[in-house]
């Protein structure tokens, strides 16, 4: 497979671990900076899906994890961790290529992702779709 060989900073793993175990973040946005994946933004637990969606730039690629809380039909409180590869169509080809070819390696570093999404416009990662995939 064609992979970029991009490195992943320790902070990514650390913060993801905290999101998973301590639940002290709602979401994390990652970006690729100088041949390494780094944390760009952390969302506090009381931030909403809208806050998360606004954190993704309209014309640049990002990776993100989102901790989604929901209630099942049996009235049971649950949460699932989403991994989202954000790659808007208007972003530059180079950026799309870099993010897509580094994704597999990066995802492996984050142990505990339950659902994966790739989105090229906001409608592909709307709250409805997230709900649909969580159930």
């Amino acid at each position: 497979m064609a992979v970029s060989g991009m490195a992943v900073s320790d902070e990514c793993k650390l913060k993801f671990g905290e999101l998973k175990a301590k639940r002290n973040y709602r979401f994390i946005v990652f970006k690729i900076d100088k041949q390494e994946v780094v944390v760009e933004k952390l969302g506090s637990p009381d931030e909403t899906y809208e806050d998360f969606a606004e954190s993704l730039p309209a014309d640049e690629c990002r990776y993100a994890v989102f901790d989604f809380d929901f209630t099942t039909s049996e009235n049971c409180q649950k949460s699932k961790i989403f991994f989202i590869a954000w790659s808007p169509e208007i972003s530059r080809v180079r950026m799309k290529m870099v993010y897509a070819s580094s994704r597999d390696r990066f995802k492996r570093e984050l142990d505990g992702i339950q659902v994966e999404l790739q989105a090229t416009d906001p409608s592909e990662m709307s709250l409805d779709i997230i709900k649909g995939r969580a159930l």
């Binding site: 060989g5 790659s87 080809v93 290529m97 897509a100 070819s101 790739q118 592909e124």
Partner: protein
Amino acid sequence: MYGGDEVSAIILDLGSHTCKAGYAGEDVPKAVFPSVVGSIDQMEVDATEMENNSGPAVEPKNNSKSLDSDKAKGKRKLYVGSQALGYRRDHMEVLSSIKDGVVVDWDAVEGIWDHAFRECLLVDPKEHPMLLAEPSSNTQQQRERTAELMFEKYKVPALFLAKNAVLTSFASGRATSLVVDSGGGSTTVAPVHDGYVLQKAVSSSPIGGEFLTDCLTKSLESKGMTIKPRYSFKRKETRPGEFQVVDVDFPNTTESYRLYAQRIIASDIKECVCRAPDTPYDEIAYSNIPMTSYELPDGQTIEIGADRFKIPDILFNPSLAQTIPGMEHFAEIAPAVRGLPQMVIESINKCDVDIRRELFSSILLAGGTASMQQLKERLEKDMLEESPQAARVKVLVAGNSTERRFSVWIGGSILASLGSFQQMWFSKAEYEEHGASYIQRKCP
């Protein structure tokens, strides 16, 4: 591990119709030329050269230059590149190096590589790492042969083989997608999941741009319009604005060369006038559509009507090809050939249930034929009709036609230029230590 110095890598994408070559990091390939080669058996060459010396026939002045490219392989002489092929030669056959994604003539492939390195890019392959794009269906044997040739003959410092479909998918920002690559020689549908091609679900058909071009030629011929290859006539200006066309006869021209020269013109007609119809083609409904005119190189103006829509519709409904006089031989393979929407559905249905939804929503249209007007819209419409209710169908194409045509090459160019990629190369040292079969490990 290959250190990866400052020397930029070379990206080669040898398709069944055109070869794309250039430097990593650039936006478009530096050289684009046909991946067919002209070939003359050596014995006959001697004979024709004698004729030329005695007669007034003009040999091109670039004789010394063409000697480099014209590799005398065994008993035949190869002519590579648009220029060398553009000149008609007695007894020159036009051969393709690749059929259905598989190399059938390694000498021709070497000729093409030589031409790309030595004449188009002017590089010494010893100094540049090479990234080659390969078809999804490439066999292990072919890959090892490629590695052997690259390291032994060209002595490249490092090599990488990347799958066409994966490069296209990545270049559009997706690690999972269904790549519909409609190129010159064939159309291939390949699902990519997490950066891997799902081999079992790959399907391909021989209907590509070239097939459509042939259909168009035959259809025009059946209506009494013949496309004269550029070499077969001389056009003189007798008075300002007035031209006289004189046919010239070259009895020793091969049929394959005549077809090659004719295809160049026909494919331009196709690109200028054809457009995928919004709904399946219907002979009666289209019988009254306005004609579009096109001026042939010999000055003759032809009018094209329903064919503008009928030819592209063959992609969706291959059996239409049989209705064109002269294409009847297609009936032999027709039952096995599916239309584009069926190929897409069949391919998706061969994949795991869990990823089907994602594939339906990321159908990527790429390749030269993808530039056909309205093709994306029509495919999306047909897919909506034929896909399961719950599926969200989305067909994506790159914004401009350059990106569509060269998506594979562009993907390779970006990948090989990444600093972090330099550790991924299959290096010469590794080749010497582990042998050609190690390519399977380095470039899975």
